[in-house]
């Protein structure tokens, strides 16, 4: 299909170019915006592969939530990024070394696709096409049966991380008055308002 080929080349070109611009652009906010563009094009590639659920989740989680927080933080940062770039040439050697190591690892990983014995065993069976079984149902079948413990464990890790973040940032200050909504709602007219008949010449006594 020519249309799919065009879409693939367009999406992948933009994704790679945006990925390059993430590290090349001078303004950190532009970097984050290019990162978002790269995410979005990756989602498009997922759609082309027929993995529409993964594509949508990528957009919802990474683009819609994580990258917003990135952007949020980067916009508030007051760092002189020109100053940071001064030592770039010295760090370049170490960075290149790490990059090459990762690249070689990736090649090994892709050359031997067998991730776990279960996955390689599944390769022997024909996977039902998208017409018979939708993406979401197929993912759910695997996630909530074979990998339920891993799934629950990752959930727990996220929960612990969340609690940790809250504990780290929580500070209790003394003497701060806070609004207690329940008290406000439960307040009755009798508690707040008192009607006192005021006699002329005497005024209000004892209140």
């Amino acid at each position: 299909m020519i249309i799919q080929a065009i879409a693939f080349y367009m999406l992948s070109t933009v994704a790679v170019a945006a990925g390059f611009m993430v590290i090349a652009s001078r303004n950190p906010v532009h970097s984050v915006l290019f990162l978002i563009l790269a995410f979005f094009n990756a989602a498009g590639l997922f759609v082309l592969l027929g993995a529409e659920f993964l594509a949508m989740i990528l957009v919802v989680v990474y683009v819609g939530a994580v990258a917003v927080l990135f952007l949020f933080v980067v916009m508030m940062l007051d760092v002189d990024f020109v100053d940071l770039r001064k030592g770039a040439l010295q760090h370049m050697q170490l960075g290149t070394l790490i990059g090459v190591i990762f690249f070689i690892e990736l090649i090994f990983l892709i050359a031997t696709v067998n991730v776990t014995p279960e996955v390689s065993a599944q390769g022997a069976f024909p996977i039902p096409g998208p017409d018979e079984r939708s993406n979401i149902a197929a993912l759910g079948d695997i996630l909530y049966t074979d990998y339920i413990y891993l799934f629950q464990a990752s959930g727990l890790i996220l929960l612990v991380a969340m609690i940790g973040a809250i504990v780290l940032t929580l500070r209790t200050r003394e003497g701060v008055k806070r609004q207690v909504i329940a008290d406000q709602v439960n307040r009755r007219r009798e508690e707040g308002v008192e009607l006192i008949p005021v006699k002329p010449g005497e005024g209000i006594k004892g209140t």
């Binding site: 299909m1 249309i3 303004n27 906010v29 532009h30 915006l33 978002i36 529409e52 659920f53 949508m56 989740i57 957009v59 919802v60 683009v63 819609g64 939530a65 917003v68 927080l69 952007l71 949020f72 916009m75 508030m76 939708s134 993406n135 979401i136 609004q179 909504i181």
Partner: protein
């Protein structure tokens, strides 16, 4: 493809489909924008009526052409870009808002089969694209290089991310009940079932309505543009066509939220009773009527309710709606498990 069969016979399967869907998109967008012009007027008229004013009544009979006059006024004005602004991002931001607001309509079924892309993950697509809407605002606020827009943009980012969470859980309650993420399936599931707005999902209906107000930055949650404190928030530096794009995008999102409320809770294109006088009327009319009803409610809320304070807004989102919708996800899942003969409605 059964859809666009006229073009498919004329031009062959792939080009016929292409031309057919392109025309479909064009008709949908034009219809939406024209409808939006009158909805904008209706918004202002409702608002005026609540305040015992007349509202716009000069351009055309009853002021019917007011929105078109406004349109030309915006377009013919000069685009002012502030000197310190980040020019590219400044221009992209309103474009992004407008484009995202338009492409969400691709999956909205306005009547049985009247949908541009009948995606299996339609509801997720809507959720994903509407969660991108925050970028237009935050980019506009940042690129203006000015204090009020920046504060407005930050506020709006926090607000929209917060309310997205509860909207997500409300969507989950509905799709657990239906057993499908396809919007057309969700409407069809309500054909032989009571509309979800009148079942145990009624609280979620309310939560979704209020979250939709917050998600679209409508009063009482219009803190990103709170004019008494932030002048006009992220829109301060925008003028003419760029401002117009922001405004159209915002209103398209409001209409989209009305359409989502209609589809999820009030049976989409279905008539209220499947008997003679009601089911003569075509589905698209019912859909439009329901959307207009919700738009009227949005307008009434704008006219009646005073603005929330920012901490109260956050409290409502995180401490009230999030636990409530989480509990309701559990309840819906429980009901679906307890009545396996009936639920999920799409097997």
């Amino acid at each position: 493809m059964e859809k666009y069969s006229f073009f498919v016979e004329l031009l062959g399967p792939s080009w016929g489909f292409f031309v057919g869907s392109a025309l479909h998109i064009l008709v949908l967008i034009v219809a939406l924008l024209v409808a939006l012009a009158f909805l904008l007027l209706a918004d202002r008229k409702v608002w005026a009526a609540v305040q015992i004013r007349r509202g716009p009544n000069v351009v055309g009979p009853f002021g019917l052409l007011q929105s078109f006059a406004d349109f030309f006024k915006f377009v013919f004005k000069e685009i002012v870009i502030p000197a310190g602004a980040n020019k590219g991002v400044f221009i992209i931001a309103p474009l992004l808002t407008f484009i995202l607001a338009c492409i969400t309509w691709a999956v909205v079924p306005v009547a049985d089969g009247w949908v541009v892309a009948d995606l299996n993950v339609g509801i997720l697509y809507l959720f994903a694209i509407s969660s991108l809407g925050v970028y237009g605002i935050i980019m506009g606020g940042w690129a203006s290089n000015s204090k009020y827009p920046f504060l407005g943009g930050l506020r709006s980012a926090a607000q929209m991310v917060s309310y997205e969470v509860s909207i997500g859980f409300v969507l989950i309650t509905v799709l657990v009940t239906v057993g499908s993420l396809n919007l057309s399936d969700i409407v069809r599931a309500q054909q032989d079932h009571v509309w979800f707005g009148f079942t145990w999902l009624l609280p979620m209906f309310v939560v979704f309505f209020i979250s939709a107000l917050a998600e679209t930055n409508r009063p009482p949650f219009d803190l990103p543009e709170a004019e008494s404190e932030l002048v006009a928030g992220y829109q301060v530096e925008y003028s003419s066509t760029l401002y117009l794009l922001f405004m159209i995008g915002e209103y398209l999102n409001i209409v989209l939220m009305c359409a989502m409320l209609t589809i999820l809770f009030l049976g989409g294109w279905l008539p209220p009773f499947d008997i003679a006088p009601f089911n003569w009327i075509p589905g698209v009319i019912w859909f439009a009527l329901k959307v207009c009803f919700f738009f009227f409610l949005f307008a009434m809320v704008k006219a009646i309710v005073p603005r929330y304070r920012y901490d109260q807004l956050m409290r409502l989102g995180w401490k009230v709606f999030l636990p409530l919708s989480l509990v309701w996800v559990a309840i819906s899942a429980g009901i679906v498990v307890a009545f396996p003969d009936t639920y999920p409605l799409v097997k």
